[in-house]
């Protein structure tokens, strides 16, 4: 039956398609402008950042305490040298993995499961703005925790504080790689619980493969370590504790993070488009 006319109800059904719609003024109506990438990205970023005040602060403390706790524990096992650098660098990057990978995967998983993506999908906003805005905000959440962990660790293991500025490169680039990965996992996981599980597993991998000294690892685990993007953030940061750091290799490690970041954020953007329109 047709809803085209009231007559349909009383039985006089008109032939379907007999009533041609008349568009407004004969011409298609003008479309409202799209939101441009950068303004939309900054709007999403600001909104996500404000969520930290409401929802995320306790978890940011947890991330920092976890890393500081691990360093205190490891102090009984490790006494200086390469291993101490690996522990401090690994614990610092672990904060990034906790927030950018684990929490972002959970956030997108929850948003997708609850239908929250519809809100963005019915606004004329570029998918990249939503993904990059959220990823950027989560990477920003890691700044205080990572800095605190790095300083506490350096003092604890008597490492030089001179090159801590390298964190200014490590946090955004490792943050991009891990947030991209977290967003992609959260958006691709078929179920919300799976998104949470994958985020947790990613963080556990970053913990075990990043904090434990690489020299004692069996070959398959060493390979897994090489495949994990957070490793390159850990290595770059660990190298900066040398008296004369090899900046070329630091740059190469950060370059890997950047490359993984570009790819994973592109995948996350594709996953967002896929998840938003079914």
């Amino acid at each position: 039956m047709s809803a085209v006319s009231a007559e349909a109800v009383s039985g006089k059904v008109r032939e379907r398609g007999a009533v041609r719609p008349r568009p407004v003024g004969g011409e298609p109506a003008p479309l409202a402008p799209r939101a441009r990438l950068l303004p939309a990205l900054s709007a999403v970023y600001r909104a996500q950042l404000s969520r930290a005040r409401v929802a995320r602060i306790p978890l940011l403390f947890v991330a920092t305490f976890q890393s500081v706790g691990i360093m205190i524990l490891m102090r009984g096992v490790v006494d200086g040298g390469d291993e101490a650098r690996a522990v401090v660098a690994g614990s610092s990057v672990l904060v990034v993995a906790f927030v950018a990978l684990n929490l972002l995967a959970q956030y997108f998983g929850q948003l997708r499961a609850s239908g929250g993506l519809d809100h963005y999908a019915t606004l004329p906003v570029p998918p990249a703005a939503v993904v990059l805005g959220a990823a950027g905000a989560y990477a920003s959440f890691t700044v205080p925790g990572t800095a605190v962990t790095a300083i506490v660790g350096s003092v604890l293991f008597k490492l030089p504080l001179a090159h801590l500025w390298v964190l200014a490169g490590v946090i955004p680039l490792a943050g991009a790689a891990l947030a991209g990965l977290g967003a992609a996992l959260g958006l691709l996981a078929p179920r919300q619980e799976l998104a949470t599980l994958l985020g947790q597993l990613g963080m556990s991998a970053a913990l075990l493969l990043g904090v434990l000294p690489a020299s004692h690892m069996p070959a398959p685990i060493a390979l897994a370590r090489d495949l994990l993007p957070s490793t390159y953030g850990v290595e770059a940061f660990a190298r900066s504790f040398d008296t004369h750091p090899d900046w070329l290799r630091v740059a190469a490690d950060l370059g890997v993070c950047a490359g993984v970041g570009v790819v994973s954020l592109a995948v996350a953007t594709w996953a967002y488009r896929r998840a938003a329109v079914r």
Binding site: V9, P23, R36, A40, V54, G115, D118
Partner: protein, 335 residues
């Protein structure tokens, strides 16, 4: 509000033809048989005119939300066409976001933002500049009486207030068509009035068109110009609320509430039981005028009256229309 007669000559804003959407059957698992595939939209035809408040009425699961999701580009139909203001939405689903202001049922994307930031961010993502978005945000919050709550996060608000805040976000960034999926759920009467006043203002000043999903029959009767009644993915009737009610104009509705057990030893009462829809101690009957008079006489006199707690005799509502058309009774809300 104006009736549809004022809109019939207006251009068509939203035109749907032969829309079909089927959800695949869920596979059976151990101990559970496979679900049947569900036809959520079944050959739907629909025309909405400029300036109309057009409603989709039906119980949960009738296919209302599936239909609006196809009109907002969120869901691709299996077959059929959707034309919005002259744009083919099946071919260009992205255009919906630039034509439609959509209020969905979920608020999880905005829950942790303050009311003000939710409205402002939504406006910016609708393409407004920062200053414009803030000006519109302030105007809309003021219009809806939300200014005092502007600094509160949505998740700290009551259900009705949160819904109103989401409605505010929908209004920031002007759109010619508003699609509202159960906008007044959980709202108190003051908030409801604010919603309908804001809708009316946009219609009067800018010729905005509103497509409204509801399962509330009282709301449907009072605010809608025209209403399409949905049942199992099909439109079973479409007219003005008054026009629909004419379908059952020769009937009245009699509700009887018994104190305890109904006096079935009274033959007239026993006869009524066969045609009554029973919910606990309440019997609902749709009767012709003469039959209703006889039934009222029977239950208000003699031994039946002693057993009667309350009775109402009313002209038919859209719920009666819905039942007369063969709809399932449960799922529609009164009030």
């Amino acid at each position: 509000m104006k009736q549809a007669a004022g809109h019939a000559g207006e251009p068509v804003v939203c035109s749907v033809r032969g829309l079909v959407k089927t959800y695949a059957a869920a596979r059976g698992r151990r101990g559970r048989p496979a679900d049947q595939e569900i036809r959520a939209s079944d050959r739907i035809d629909l025309d909405v005119h400029r300036g109309e408040i057009f409603g989709l009425l039906g119980p949960n699961g009738a296919g209302k939300t599936t239909l609006v999701r196809q009109l907002t580009g969120l869901l691709r139909p299996d077959a059929g066409s959707v034309e919005l203001l002259g744009h083919d939405l099946v071919r260009y689903p992205d255009r919906a976001a630039r034509l439609v202001g959509y209020l969905g049922q979920q608020s999880s994307a905005l829950d942790e933002l303050t009311v003000a930031l939710a409205a402002e961010t939504t406006g910016r993502l609708r393409g407004l500049g920062l200053r414009e978005a803030r000006a519109e945000r302030d105007a809309v919050l003021d219009e809806l009486g939300l200014t005092a709550l502007a600094g509160r996060p949505l998740k700290k608000l009551s259900g009705g207030q949160r819904r109103l805040a989401c409605f505010a976000a929908t209004l920031v960034g002007d759109r010619p068509l508003l699609v509202l999926d159960e906008p007044t759920t959980g709202m108190d009467p003051v908030a409801r009035r604010a919603v309908w006043a804001a809708v009316d203002r946009r219609r009067a000043e800018r010729g905005a068109t509103v497509l409204l999903v509801t399962h509330n029959v009282i709301e449907a009767e009072t605010v809608l110009d025209r209403v399409a009644v949905l049942e199992r993915g099909r439109i079973i009737a479409c007219d003005t609320p008054a026009g629909l009610k004419e379908l059952v104009a020769d009937e009245v509705r009699l509700d009887l509430v018994w104190r305890d057990a109904p006096p079935l030893d009274v033959p007239e009462v026993a006869a009524l039981r066969d045609i009554a829809a029973e919910t606990g101690r309440r019997w609902s009957l749709r009767l012709g005028h003469a039959e209703a008079r006889a039934a009222v006489a029977a239950v208000t006199g003699g031994p039946a009256f002693a057993a009667l707690d309350d009775f109402t005799l009313a002209t038919p509502s859209l719920e009666d229309v819905y039942l007369a058309l063969g709809g399932r009774a449960e799922g529609l809300v009164k009030g």
